[in-house]
């Protein structure tokens, strides 16, 4: 992947997380702390399947070796 493609992909993912964060904080009280907390929580929820897949793949490759 070229550098511009990596940048574009990261930008899309960040915009996606920001949209989800805004959606999550739409009915909560406004404030940077609430926004950042929700942002981190969205990232964590998104990270769970990624971490799980990574761990399963790592175990699989370890077993194959």
């Amino acid at each position: 992947m070229r550098r511009i493609e990596v940048f574009l992909a990261i930008l899309l993912v960040v915009i996606g997380i920001l949209c989800l964060t805004m959606s999550g904080t739409l009915m909560l009280e406004t404030g940077l702390t609430v926004f950042l907390t929700t942002f981190v929580q969205v990232c964590l929820w998104m990270g769970i399947p990624l971490i799980l897949t990574g761990v399963i793949y790592w175990q699989y490759t370890k077993k194959r070796r």
Binding site: L12, G16, I17, M27
Partner: protein, 468 residues
């Protein structure tokens, strides 16, 4: 990036899939929220209207004032109508003042002793209400009017609108995430394919040393391995073709040179005696025979490789075949002082093969063994187990170096690298033997040690006889 590239196709497919899932999911989530809040409000209004309808038994002024007061302390509005549908009490709905009539269809429903459940829009204060109307009965069970309990759902609609916006925003966010991850994924998936495309184009252009890196063991990895194998095979094929053309030119050139030289000598009378002339003619004949053998061997090999050779399969007794082959080669062996041995077994199983071709195989191996053996013996052994018969042709000859064994059955491959052809032969014998063995369902292997000897092993499946 091209419009029909795999990245675009994969990206569009996954995006479509995300939308196919997200849109109905968003609709269902919205319905769940709306249903939940509406049913809650309706339940409250229903309960209140039931209670009020049961507690009112007349439409006197005191009761009406009491209900108007009751409505002012709750968040619900109350409208009471008489049996003609004329409003007699109103706690705060501007479009239905006292003295105004309700809709005739509502009155008809009420006259049938049924409840009214509907949404009411007040066009004066522009508010939406959820209304439940119940008929009022006097003590003697006579219909005296109806009571409507209305609860404003304007706030509810606003909240639901906010929820809808939040769902749409979350959906857009999910689409962005999907596009971002799909882009990375499709790039990762397509990059090895692009590498393979470039490599195959290079191979097609003639750069047969090009190889594809195999980064995984999945289908893409096996495809890369297949491309590498193809490149290796093409490289081998090209080298073989080049070598074959060089070999055939050389093999044909030698007898032609002899023929040219000796015919020129005869034509120009460059001999001194008749004996010398006879010797020249014999050389010409031998070279012509050699050339003829070479051409017929080449023709036969070519037919075998194209699958055009017709084999006559029959039940073949290998003992008889070997005896015939030994008879043919006996003179050559005796001329070199070699001992020919054959362990003749009794009741040996038959095989399904072409008898003449089998004899050709054994004769060829025996001739080779005699040619490369100076002293000692050439031995033929026969063995069998449950499924196969084995023929061993063993000699005490000069042997074959280990590095030459894998190429032994290739056309024109010679262990003696010099062009002098000290031992004779066309260089096609073993290639023909291998082809013939394989065409008859057998296998040939070789073991050899330098200065100790060589052993060729032929294996053929036994004919299974059906028991009666």
């Amino acid at each position: 990036m091209k419009g029909n590239s795999i990245v675009v196709k994969l990206g569009s497919s996954i995006l479509l899939l995300v939308l196919v899932i997200l849109l109905p999911l968003g609709f269902v989530v919205n319905q769940i929220f709306s249903g939940f809040y509406f049913s809650k409000v309706q339940e409250e209004v229903e309960e209140a209207s039931d209670r009020y309808a049961n507690s009112i038994d007349s439409l006197d002024e005191q009761q009406l004032e009491l209900f108007e007061l009751l409505a002012s302390v709750t968040e619900q509005e109350i409208i009471i109508v008489d049996e003609q549908g004329i409003v007699v009490a109103n706690s705060g709905i501007p479009s239905l003042p006292v003295g105004e009539g309700i809709r005739s269809e509502d009155l008809a429903v009420m006259a049938n002793n049924a409840d009214i459940r509907s949404e009411y829009y007040d066009d004066i204060n522009n508010r939406r209400y959820l209304q439940v109307g119940k008929p009022i009965y006097s003590d003697d069970e006579q219909l005296i009017g109806g009571i409507f309990v209305l609860s404003s759902v304007e706030d509810l609609y606003q909240s639901l609108e906010l929820v809808k916006r939040a769902i749409i925003l979350a959906g857009i966010g999910a689409v962005f995430l999907a596009v971002g991850f799909t882009f990375i994924l499709s790039r990762k998936l397509s990059s090895p394919l692009l590498e393979m495309e470039q490599a195959t184009r290079k191979i097609a252009a003639g750069d047969l040393n090009t190889r594809v890196s195999r980064s995984s063991m999945d289908e893409i990895g096996t495809l890369a391995a297949a491309i590498n194998d193809l490149a290796i095979e093409l490289h081998r094929y090209r080298s073989n073709r080049r070598e074959f053309l060089a070999n055939i030119s050389h093999e044909l050139q030698t007898p032609i040179t002899y023929l040219e030289g000796y015919t020129s000598a005869l034509r120009n009378h460059l001999y001194e005696t008749e004996e010398e002339k006879e010797q020249y003619l014999q050389i010409i004949q031998l070279e012509a025979v050699r050339m003829s053998n070479l051409v017929s061997d080449l023709f036969e090999l070519s037919k075998m490789e194209d699958g055009k050779i017709a084999l006559v399969f029959e039940e073949v007794d290998l003992v008889e075949v070997i005896e015939n082959a030994l008879l043919k080669t006996k003179m050559n062996a005796q001329a070199k002082g070699l001992q020919l041995e054959f362990n003749q077994p009794y009741d040996f199983p038959s095989i399904n093969a072409d008898g003449l071709r089998m004899e050709q195989i054994i004769s060829n191996l025996l001739e080779n063994a005699i040619r490369y053996t100076e002293s000692g013996f050439v031995k033929v052994k026969l063995f069998s187990d449950i499924t196969t018969v084995k023929v061993l042709v063993e000699d005490t000859g000069i042997g074959i170096p280990q590095e030459d064994i894998p190429f032994l059955f290739e056309r024109f491959y010679r262990v003696e690298k010099s062009r002098s052809r000290e031992f004779g032969g066309t260089g096609l014998g073993l290639a023909i033997v291998k082809q013939l063995v394989e065409l008859q369902g057998g296998a040939i292997t070789v073991e050899s040690q330098i200065e100790k000897g060589t052993c060729f092993e032929l294996a053929f499946p036994i004919i299974r006889r059906e028991s009666p």
